[in-house]
Amino acid sequence: MPRVVVHYAPATILAVVVLVAWQALVRLFHVPEIILPAPSQIAAALVDPSVDWPHHIWVTGVEVVIGFAVAVVLGIALALVIVMSAFLARVLLPWILLAQIAPKIAFAPILFLAFGYNQLPTILITFLVAFFPMVVNTATGLSSLDPRMKDLLRSYQASRWDVLRKAQFPAALPYVFTGLKVSSTLAVIGANVAEFVSARAGLGFLIINAQVTFNAPLAFAAAGYLILLGVLFYALVAILERVTMPWAVPHRAA
């Protein structure tokens, strides 16, 4: 058997078994569609031509990518500030923690009221949900350099910037990628949460609209595409990790 078949066969068989059992149980026990639709109903909704799937996937995808990008850039920048200045760390850290713990879903309506019923608050909420792991992981990574290494570089007249660029950043990379992975999945959740509050389109909009109209197969299908979007996004980050630091990957769980 080809290696690729051997590699993927067990996971595929498990998925098929789960789907068949799901279908059989729903049929056997006459589970109402509104509680749990059958996989066949969800599959039909996934390819329903009357739903403009490409548009909704695109809308949510754009929100996720922009929100995530802002989270990465600002997250890394904040981490740098925190690592470089103990004073700024003392001032900023409580706010960063506050922003992370504050229930975003409760504040989302206020953000829409303040910034308008468009995609800006959605992107802002996506950013707020996704940025914390970036800050914490990058800051931890930047601080992870062996102090003796730093002293050594200093003794060779390396500037602070040199140390950061040539030693601290490479040492931080595995942490940064851990942050990227966690943030990438959180960004999908963030966009979804925001769309629950207000949206004209998107997968989160579809889930709410399907709930309001009691169309459970559509809600499950939209959730399915959202999961797919998240997995794809995560996979892209994982591939980027492999490309960026091929030396690190074999020692870590992907």
Partner: protein, 378 residues
């Protein structure tokens, strides 16, 4: 509208005029005036200022024709797109609003209360929201939002129940289990429904869950009844049947509650400063309501142009149930503006019922909650 995110022709015109005045009078002064000695910095600043004014003027010139073409207004609905909102979506897609010089941006909502607050804050220009919710907000002190056109002259509120749970008249609801959500308007008005129909709510058990899916426990029979609206009955009857339940309803209007339903709202600032926009918005909206009442199938087809995910049959059944119960004169009114008329006695009843149901001490003058300036007396 200036206070919202959109803009408005008259506002743009005023800005353009000011820019023209400054550009015409300011520019020659600073550019060609003979400068006193040693005033070089000042003159550079002036030149820069003039350049900015000219640029601003050019930008406004470019923007002005678009602003003149149509007034941009935002319109927030009560819920995520559903069948009975078809008149408004059709109003946009058929160009009814455009014909009245309006570029309407419809924003799906998540309940009447947020929509009322959006209008009060000025973030949104118009809302489609329940009159009883407006009355509640007013009783709690909100003063700046008014009905500018009624749409549902009768409330679509209804008590959905499962006949197979031994319920055949309202009094049978006593001691049963109710599906509800925290903050439900109709859930609160159910108190008045109980009093008027002579049964006590004290023994009723509640299953509370989040708004979009709070009716699910009823559908599957975990709850026996739920305060809701008539359009949900047609939505849920088939699903309840799948679970072996016979879903029926007690409509509020059939059981002694004759109050208003959803209306078009605007805030007092918009009414005072952009009366012409309100007038055109009300006319276009009510024209669309009448058209939809006369052509429900076509209206649902228009709705599905922007929301193709909605099931045609369900959306149509929903629209028809609302037309029958809440807009009974929709198709027949000789003038669509008559559909928007607010009757003082009925508005008073609406406010009183809300006061009673919520146990509020405060009062509000019902006349402060509406204006008939944009509609016609039937």
């Amino acid at each position: 509208m200036p206070q919202g995110e959109g803009n408005n022709a008259s506002v743009h015109d005023a800005d353009a005029d000011a820019a023209v005045a400054t550009a015409v009078h300011g520019a020659p002064d600073s550019l060609f005036e003979v400068q006193p000695q040693g005033a070089r910095m000042k003159s550079i600043t002036r030149v820069l200022t003039s350049v900015l004014f000219v640029a601003a003027f050019a930008a406004l010139q470019a923007a002005a024709p678009a602003a003149l073409a149509a007034d941009k207004v935002t319109f927030k609905l009560d819920f995520s797109p559903v069948g009975y909102q078809a008149p408004f979506y059709a109003g946009v897609s058929r160009g009814v609003y455009a014909k009245h010089g309006l570029d309407v941006d419809i924003i799906p909502g998540n309940g009447s209360y947020p929509a009322v607050l959006d209008v009060a804050s000025g973030r949104i220009d118009f809302a489609f929201a329940d009159t009883s919710v407006l009355a509640l907000a007013a009783l709690k002190g909100l003063r700046d939002v008014k009905v500018v056109a009624m749409v549902f002259e009768a409330t679509p509120y209804s008590v959905l129940y499962l006949k197979n749970k031994g319920i055949s008249k309202p009094a049978d609801l006593a001691g049963k289990t109710e599906a509800n959500f925290t903050g439900s308007g109709v859930g609160q008005l159910f108190q008045a429904f109980a009093r008027i129909n002579g049964f006590s709510t004290s023994g009723i058990k509640e299953i509370l869950s989040a708004p979009p899916t709070y009716l699910n426990p009823l559908v599957v029979g975990q709850a026996d009844f739920a305060p809701s609206t008539v359009n949900q009955t047609v939505n849920l009857r088939g699903l309840a049947k799948q679970a072996g339940n016979d879903l029926q309803e007690f409509r509020f209007i059939d059981y002694g509650i004759n109050i208003y339903g959803a209306a078009i709202l605007a805030n007092t600032k918009t009414i005072a400063e952009h009366s012409d926009v309100v007038k055109r918005f009300v006319r276009a909206s009510l024209e669309s309501v009448q058209w939809a009442a006369r052509h429900p199938e076509a209206a649902v087809a228009e709705l599905r142009k922007t929301n193709p995910q909605l099931k045609k049959d369900r959306a149509l059944a929903e629209l028809r149930s609302i037309l029958q119960v809440s807009i009974p004169r929709g198709a027949s009114a000789p003038d669509p503006l008559q559909l928007g008329w607010v009757d003082k006695a009925k508005m008073t009843r609406t406010v009183d019922l809300v006061r009673e149901s919520y146990g509020l001490k405060q009062t509000v003058d019902p006349r402060a909650l509406y204006t008939n300036a944009y509609v016609a007396k039937p």
